[in-house]
């Protein structure tokens, strides 16, 4: 990702931000509220189109592509506010994630042709595997509204995993979770990493970020102010001033 900028009106949400993600690593994106973290994810996934810059993914240019095309290139994401499909059940949400790796069209679906039924079966199995992975197999047939927050976040991850992504972006995955849920999530992320996924995490929870990440990128007011291994970033003066300094008092009760 090179020199990406995005502004809304006169405000720069992202100002010439550049970074690279190493395949199979965990990178975290941190910064105070309004630093442009979520905007950055939205720009990468094509929800917003950046004003300038370039985005390359696995050697291909994905800058300016529509969101559904970016998704088909293997970039999956979750949302800060879950954005689950409330009219579908848990497993159907995961199955909706299989959209990119299935083909059945309207006619074959409507007449329930053998090809569509076969694909449906495959999708259901794949979705179930991902629910098992996140530990929600017992909730498969429940509607989304019955699930507590922690489980909803996991449904979001299962849905993104069903896309068989090579890059997974998690937008505040531990926000509002209890300590034991966070521990489970850390285990899950390690499992995903062992499967070769590249993971980008946007998060406020410092202990979570620092223990997990190989690299940390710090954004402030749309600009990148630091990038490096967690220990290095933790010692960076500018970072402390912009972010950690004012958040220390919060940390005592937000951390696990």
């Amino acid at each position: 990702m090179v020199d990406v900028s995005k502004h809304f009106g006169g405000i720069f949400a992202l100002n010439k931000v550049s970074f690279a993600l190493r395949r199979g690593s965990i990178t975290s994106l941190i910064g105070p509220n309004g630093a442009g973290k979520t905007t950055l994810i939205n720009v990468v996934t094509g929800i917003y189109t950046a004003d300038e810059g370039g985005i390359h993914f696995q050697g291909k240019d994905v800058f300016g592509l529509s969101a559904h095309l970016v998704a088909s290139k293997g970039i999956g994401r979750t949302f800060q506010l879950e954005e689950l499909f409330g009219s579908l059940t848990v497993i159907e949400n995961a199955m909706a994630g299989c959209h990119v790796n299935s083909q059945s069209r309207m006619i074959s679906c409507g007449f329930s042709l053998p090809s569509a039924r076969k694909e449906e079966k495959r999708i259901r199995n794949e979705a179930m595997e991902n629910l098992v992975l996140v530990g929600l197999e017992k909730r498969a047939l429940d509607p989304i509204s019955k699930l507590p927050l922690g489980e909803r976040k996991l449904v979001g991850i299962a849905r993104a995993l069903s896309m068989k992504p090579t890059l997974l972006m998690l937008d505040e995955p531990v926000g509002g979770l209890a300590a034991h849920e966070i521990k489970k999530l850390v285990d899950l992320i390690h499992t995903l990493l062992s499967k070769g996924l590249t993971i980008l995490i946007v998060e406020h929870n410092m202990p979570f970020v620092m223990s997990l990440s190989e690299k940390v990128i710090v954004l402030d007011e749309g600009s990148k102010i630091a990038e490096g291994p967690p220990e290095e970033v933790r010692r960076d003066d500018e970072v402390i001033k912009a972010y950690l300094g004012e958040e220390v008092s919060d940390e005592s009760h937000s951390g696990p």
Partner: protein
Amino acid sequence: MKPIRKILHGWCFIVIAIGILPFVVPGLYMHYITGVMCFIAMYGALALGMGVLLEQAGLFSLAHPSWFGIGAYITGILAMRGIPSIAAIIIAAISVAFLAYIIGAPLLRLKGYYLACATFALLLIVDITIPQLGSLTGGHDGLLGIPPLSIAGFVLKGDFHFYYLTWGLCLGTLWFLSNLMRSRFGRAIKSFNDSEVASKSVGVNVSGYKLQVFILTAVMASFVGSFFCFYIRYANPLMFGFPLMVELVTMMIVGGGKTLYGPLLGSFVILWVREIIHIYLGKVLPVMNAQIDATFFGVIIVVILIFMPGGLAGWLDQLIQAGRKVRERFARA
């Protein structure tokens, strides 16, 4: 496996009930009842498509009756010029698909009430234009003397034939749509209704799917229009347009648009209630006209919205669930 068998049983029961109805009603009422049932099937099929479009896909298009009317008119005009019935039906469907594509592509960029306004304008435009086309559409008199439906030399006319034709079409539509909504296509449609941004992020081409479901329901409406004009053997500007739109929305609300079969249930209830009102109130009131109909529908909508916000289908689902709970409690005791 058990629930699937149960659903199958329910389906079979309804299909058999519809299949034997003309044979079990007293001969005296046969024509009357099958006649009303034909209209229920056709309006039901229309309402089913509209239900999917409005409630499942969240596309608030009010132009549904236009596709029905255009389909009916094209079929009628072609049939009167000696084109075989099947060819006329197919040409009408293809023309409607083409029109829906041209109109849907720009209009579906709108959302919510804006889409409703634009499609409402479309409804009025079609309503006004068709009578103005002079000899082609027969002006305000409409098309008179449409030949009967003939398939491979076999002429189909009258209530009895059309009873099976229209219910075949209606249940076929229900079957197709229920398959569709439980598939990849259906999940894509429901997903952008729930969260467009998440839908895009899992790779759903949202604008493409909106256009597809818009065209699909338009073509379904065109098929109903074709059968409609072959059944009543004329086409008239009054039979679609604003009043039909109101009627379809009423059916959706009364039946419950959140479930797939709700609009069909609504069609059944609304048309029979109207018949009953006509029979009994016709004796009491000096005049019986569309305004009195509309008043009754207004009252029904208000009552349903207050006491059964999910419509009859939602209410039935609640009853079934409550029944299941009671049974479980007995089983445990």
